[in-house]
């Protein structure tokens, strides 16, 4: 899979100087950085299709950081979130962590802490995207199967022997073998165990 383009870090903080300085630091270690002054500004942009994370100030005018975090979860945008908090926002941060934030940083933030948190968040997003890409690829491969091959696959994956599959579908065992090897080829797999695993991931049942 290609990860050629640098990861994106989205920073939402209503303080222009703070977001620019944090963007400065992240750019110096080769991240792409996008800066926003409010939740609304962030929601207005199309997110690029690369690994990314969101660095979010808890205290924002209008929609608060926590509200934005909740909203993203609700609309199924699974961007890893790092919360930033000022003085007295600790209870809010606990709420944010419970809602799935990767980390929370208390201002003034040490540069290395920010870089570490972003590193963890980006890797999390990469592995999630990697999983997602794998599933998409499997779906595409599965789409190449004929209806008959799909039937054979479901039965084989459920643990039936060729002979049982043949009688289930009222076809010859030789035909089952032919369909089965075609399925394996199209899904690029060599073992029945892996076939069963793919069926599970794609939620295919007999």
């Amino acid at each position: 899979m290609s990860m050629s383009s640098a990861p994106f870090v989205h920073i939402v903080d209503d303080d222009r100087w703070v977001r620019e300085s944090m963007g400065d630091l992240l750019r110096s270690v080769n991240y792409h950085v996008m800066l926003y002054g409010s939740a609304a500004e962030f929601l207005n942009v199309e997110l690029p299709e690369t690994s990314a994370c969101l660095v979010l100030d808890v205290r924002l005018p209008g929609t608060s950081g926590l509200e934005l975090q909740e909203y993203l979860t609700r609309i199924d945008i699974r961007l890893p979130v790092i919360l930033m908090t000022g003085f007295g926002d600790i209870p809010m941060s606990v709420k944010g962590m419970k809602a799935g934030a990767v980390d929370f940083l208390t201002k003034p933030i040490r540069g290395q802490d920010l870089l570490d948190a972003v590193d963890v968040a980006i890797r999390l997003d990469e592995s999630r995207r990697h999983e997602l890409a794998k599933i998409t690829e499997l779906r595409q491969r599965y789409a190449l199967l004929t209806p008959r091959e799909r039937q054979v696959m479901a039965l084989v994956a459920s643990g039936l022997m060729n002979k049982q599959v043949a009688s289930e579908l009222s076809i010859s065992e030789a035909t089952v073998k032919m369909h089965r090897s075609s399925v394996m080829r199209k899904l690029e797999t060599k073992s029945v165990t892996k076939l069963a695993r793919i069926a599970e991931i794609l939620d295919i049942r007999r």
Binding site: D15, W17, V18, E20
Partner: protein
Amino acid sequence: MEGIITDVTRQKAAEQALTDARGALARASRLASLGELAGSIIHEVNQPLTGIIASGEACLRWLARDPADPGEARNSAARIIEQGRRASSIIAGLRSIARDARLEFADIQINETVEEVLVLSKRELERAGVTPSTAFDVSMPEIMADRVQLQQAVLNLVRNAIDSMAGANGRARILTASSKVADGHASVTIADTGVGIDPAITERMFDPLFTTKDEGLGLGLSICRKIICAHGGRLWLEKNTTHGSAFTFALPLRQRCPSSEIK
């Protein structure tokens, strides 16, 4: 004719008294919001600090690149300077507040001073279902003190007492303000019938930013102690049981060399 002049003089005196009272009240409420202020100061100063740290580290990283990127490093340095300026303008704003915290000593009646705080807190006391009571030493002489600052200290103690009684059910909520003259000192005690103070925290409760309240900033008692100390006095926890606690402060009857500022 004489009657009219007397009336005008009286009226003027009354007006002056009203203006003075308004001024004192304004100062008192400004001090009351000191807690809120501290919270926003911390936030305001943390912002540029966060920026300065991030840009400083960025600057080093731009320079450590191979090849170094002096253009970006220069921008980072400019951001550091700009945010340093911001921080210093916040500090400059604070100086004017600090000037207001100078003590103004005058001969005051301490019983009256404390009683006024109870009058000011009447609504708060009523809302919390607390009955105020007083036991003042009538032989109390006048002392040299800053009336408004002392009232701020008493107000903080009264508010703590009210909060402490919020959790006390099934018994009367009584706040007692008393005074006493002894050993060359005037002492004032604010006692409540609340739930008391966890003995584990009595060591730390005078520390700035130490709080047990969700909404608190942990400045009340530390401000109290600062004010009392600035008067050459002492503030301590007099009594602490699960059925009530009491704070007492003692001020010297004769101010030898009052410090003029709260440090």
